[in-house]
């Protein structure tokens, strides 16, 4: 949450030469597109292994896996953005992230890099973006070779245990 707030610092803010705060983002690939997550939210990165599916699970949910004794759901990012389910193999990875107090796995094609960016580097998402309401992307960053879409995890995978009540 707080990280998100930091990202949303207006881009017209004048950058001072000193004290620019850099944030580290883990970037990863899905269908050649690059996505980024604040490194503070990334708990670990795991090689894909078979999950246990749940009855009536959402289209993009791949089931649950065992992360050293705790049960963690795994969501398929490609499917979450409307694509088909990933044909997961040993080369695919699951990014284990914190969303609020919960630990969740996100299935992606591959992890690519860790980049350092300042709040000023983050551009707002243009309106009318394909793939849903746009709020799933917290901002865009141009890195050397690609456009990185920073994910808004709370919107992508909301905490449904709260919603159900």
């Amino acid at each position: 949450m707080t990280e998100m707030a930091e990202i949303e610092i207006p881009t017209d803010k004048v950058a001072t030469s000193k004290n620019i705060e850099y944030f580290q983002y883990v970037t990863f690939l899905v269908d050649e597109r690059t996505f980024g997550l604040d490194i503070k939210n990334v708990r670990e990165i795991k090689q894909w292994s078979a999950t246990t599916s749940l009855p009536n699970q959402a289209k993009f949910t791949r089931g649950v896996l065992n992360l050293r004794g705790t049960i963690v759901p795994v969501h398929d990012l490609r499917a979450r953005f409307g694509g088909p389910l990933t044909e997961a193999t040993d080369t695919h990875v699951v990014v284990i992230v914190w969303i609020g107090t919960k630990t969740v796995g996100v299935l992606v094609d591959a992890v690519s890099d860790i980049i350092s960016i300042s709040a000023e580097d983050i551009r707002p998402v243009p309106q009318g973006q394909p793939n849903g309401d746009g709020s799933t992307i917290a901002g865009l960053v141009c890195s050397e070779d690609a456009m990185v879409a920073l994910l808004n995890l709370e919107v992508l995978f909301p905490d449904e245990s709260v919603l159900l009540e």
Partner: protein, 710 residues
């Protein structure tokens, strides 16, 4: 401030434990079964609450606890007889104190109506006894208190004070040091120290005892009271008297309550005086040589202490351990079981020359691990008493409010249940008792007219049944008025007036979330919480709630709960290539589908004949929408649904029984309908634990599958 609130939160947590203990002790006392230790324990509970209240300045609570404590003190001092009347006042006092603690925690609120009444009762009890302010003044030391009085009364209100300071023989033994004393005194305006010329002869010198007296002169702005406060800490071991007043020879006076600090192992400290006869010296002498093992020393020494004003010690040794630590242990043991299962599995796959021997070891390890797990779980187990004991108060309070009469009969309080379950029990039980008191038990007049005992009876019982605990709340009230319930359900649009419901279906309506609303409920049931909350809570604990209504005669709620939320015995089955766990407690038997007669019903469902009965035959694969696998759905597991009788669940194969460690899906995900949790298999994969009644609800569409965003 924040810190302070943390301490307060801690204190309130402790208070709840203390109050539970207190209620329990008071119940025992009221039943006439208590002994001195029970009284002491009750006293200590009240005292601790008071201590905390004093630390945080909860005035109402302090003053009430003080009076309460006084009465308890009189009882333990045998100055007050524990009659039925006294017991009843004590019980009510316990209730009031609980309310006061709650209010202190919530930061205010109207003092409970019965506060004054109970307070008056307590005071009355306390005053009947011919003791002043409940304080034990019998063996007051005259000389010392005189000295204090004199100091206070005669000190002139000037800036120069003079005192004669005579350290007693215990001055050093009590941890004081004359130099430190003078240093501190300097901060209070000490200007002159004059040693008294009168010194004991060399022969009498004891290095552990200060043989000198000093005249101290203070020139200070402090008042006599300020100085007195400063001296207060030294008065215990030194005579400090204002100059000019005749005082007894302090050395002699002090000798009379000399106790023996110096021990034989310290020759240079050999006691100057023979030990006085009043003290239980022999035991102590005996103990001294044992110094290297002070725990046993302390234990031995405690026995002779029993007659002192201090309380006798408790017999049961217990240790308070942070639940998190135990949880860690439970988890670790769980992990070990999983690893072990994996190991065992690999052993069976790879048979080699030494296989048999290793197998044997793996097997004993498995047994030991299971034992370890049981022991760990036993640490977490608690008698339901800790919850049950709060319930009499609920009933008493409600009886007061509703002008009804009822007594609560508790049985099976010693039934042990995992502490996580215990914690969750209080709320649903309270609701059920409220429900009984509010809607079940009639007022005394009506009851008399009906030929019932004017005092209603509510039974609350607990017992173990296999791996579950059964809790029953039964009352002898009017039962559930089906006409009224139906009328209300129609009014609330829960059912249509055209619906034909059988009596049991009508009874079930009281569990409907929309049934009880704020507009209707009395102050007792309050806040619009109804029986739906009870049902939801019990279900969330993996339990079931069954109602038997006997109109005119009463109702009975039966709650079935797992003993623990941490481990369970399960039966592993496969379906669609995935393993699932069925709670063993609901498995009746397993049969081959091929050996049974199956019938297709017109609505495409199937039934299976079993010993003349027809059971619904459900395909797990279809229910969970699992992919087809090569194997046939050849096994049928007959399950007890607890609510809908037996059903047959068709699965691909049966793997066997095993104990599983329950893992939550909700911790990182959400509640999944039809699944009560998950566990980790020997190979590290996750297997889902099926919730049989939940599955059936899912199938019947009473509970739409929770679906998601998009």
């Amino acid at each position: 401030m924040d810190d302070d609130e943390d301490y307060q939160a801690l204190f309130f947590t402790e208070c709840r434990e203390l109050l539970t203990d207190l209620a329990e002790h008071l119940d025992v006392l009221a039943a006439g079964e208590g002994d001195l230790e029970t009284v002491n324990a009750a006293f200590r509970a009240v005292h601790s609450v008071k201590g905390g209240a004093a630390a945080f300045g909860f005035d109402t609570l302090i003053s009430f606890a003080h009076v309460f404590e006084t009465v308890m003190d009189q009882i333990r001092g045998d100055r007050l007889e524990l009659t039925d009347d006294v017991s009843s006042v004590l019980l009510r006092a316990g209730d009031v104190m609980e309310v006061l603690v709650e209010q202190a925690q919530l930061g205010g609120g109207e003092p409970p109506a019965k506060l004054e009444r109970v307070l008056a009762d307590l005071e009355e009890i306390a005053d009947i006894v011919p003791t002043e302010e409940g304080e034990d003044t019998s063996d007051l030391v005259e000389a010392q208190s005189d000295a204090v009085d004199v100091a206070e009364a005669d000190l002139p209100d000037e800036t120069v004070f003079q005192f004669l300071f005579a350290p007693g023989p215990d001055f050093i033994a009590a941890g004081h040091d004359p130099l430190r004393f003078f240093k501190s005194a300097r901060n209070h305006g000490l200007t002159e120290i004059l040693a008294d010329p009168e010194v004991v002869t060399l022969d009498d010198v004891d290095p552990a005892v200060i043989p000198i007296r000093w005249t101290l002169t203070f020139e200070t702005e402090e008042t006599a009271e300020d100085l007195d406060e400063f001296f207060e800490f030294y008065r215990m071991v030194a005579d400090i008297t204002p100059i000019g007043d005749p005082v007894e020879d302090p050395v002699e006076e002090a000798v009379s309550d000399q106790s023996q600090a110096s021990a034989p192992d310290f020759p240079e400290e050999a006691p100057q005086m023979p030990p006085p006869a009043v003290k239980p010296e022999p035991e102590k002498q005996e103990v001294v040589p044992e110094r290297p093992a002070p725990v046993s020393e302390s234990e031995k020494a405690r026995a002779p202490e029993a007659q002192t004003p201090a309380k006798p010690t408790q017999q049961t040794k217990s240790l308070r351990v942070d639940l998190n630590r135990i949880d860690r242990l439970v988890n670790l043991v769980g992990e070990m079981l999983i690893t072990q299962a994996g190991l065992a599995q690999r052993m069976t796959e790879e048979t080699n020359a030494q296989g048999l021997e290793v197998d044997h070891s793996v097997e004993s390890m498995s047994r030991q691990l299971r034992e370890l797990q049981e022991s760990v779980m036993a640490i977490r187990a608690q008698p339901v008493k800790s919850v049950f004991s709060r319930m009499p108060r609920v009933v008493r309070d409600l009886a007061d409010k509703l002008n009804k009469k009822a007594r609560l009969e508790l049985t099976g309080e010693q039934t042990e249940v995992d502490t996580t379950v215990i914690e969750e029990l209080s709320e649903p039980l309270t609701h059920m008792l409220r429900n009984s008191m509010d809607h079940g038990i009639e007022d005394p007049e009506t009851r008399t007219e009906l030929g019932k005992d004017p005092v209603g009876l509510i039974r609350l019982s607990a017992e173990h049944k296999g791996e579950r605990v059964i809790i029953v709340v039964q009352d002898d009230g009017r039962g559930i008025d089906r006409d009224r319930v139906l009328a209300k359900a129609i009014e609330r649009d829960l059912v249509s007036p055209d619906d034909v419901l059988n009596p049991e279906e009508i009874d079930q309506l009281i569990f409907h979330p929309g049934f009880s609303t704020a507009s209707e409920v009395s102050s007792v049931s309050g806040r619009g919480v109804g029986m739906d909350v009870v049902k939801k809570k019990i279900q969330s604990l993996g339990g079931r709630c069954v109602l038997v209504n006997n109109p005119g005669k009463g109702s009975r709620f039966t709650i079935t709960l797992p003993l623990t939320l941490a481990v369970m015995d399960g039966m592993t089955v496969t379906s669609g290539g995935q393993q699932f766990i069925l709670p063993l407690s609901s498995v009746v038997e397993a049969v081959r589908v091929g050996s049974c007669k199956i019938r297709q019903l017109p609505d495409d469902s199937s039934v299976m004949e079993r010993r003349g009965d027809y059971l619904r035959l459900l395909s797990l694969r279809k229910m969970l929408d699992m992919p087809k696998s090569q194997s046939d759905q050849d096994m049928a597991i007959i399950l007890d649904t607890e609510t809908d009788g037996h059903v047959a669940l068709q699965v691909d194969d049966l793997i066997g029984q095993r104990q599983v460690v329950l893992k939550s899906l909700e911790a990182n995900f959400k509640k999944v309908a039809g699944v009560s949790g998950a566990t980790i298999l020997g190979d590290g994969h996750v297997a889902l634990i099926l919730d049989v009644p939940g599955l059936i609800e899912l199938l019947d569409g009473t509970q739409p599958a929770a679906e998601m965003i998009h």
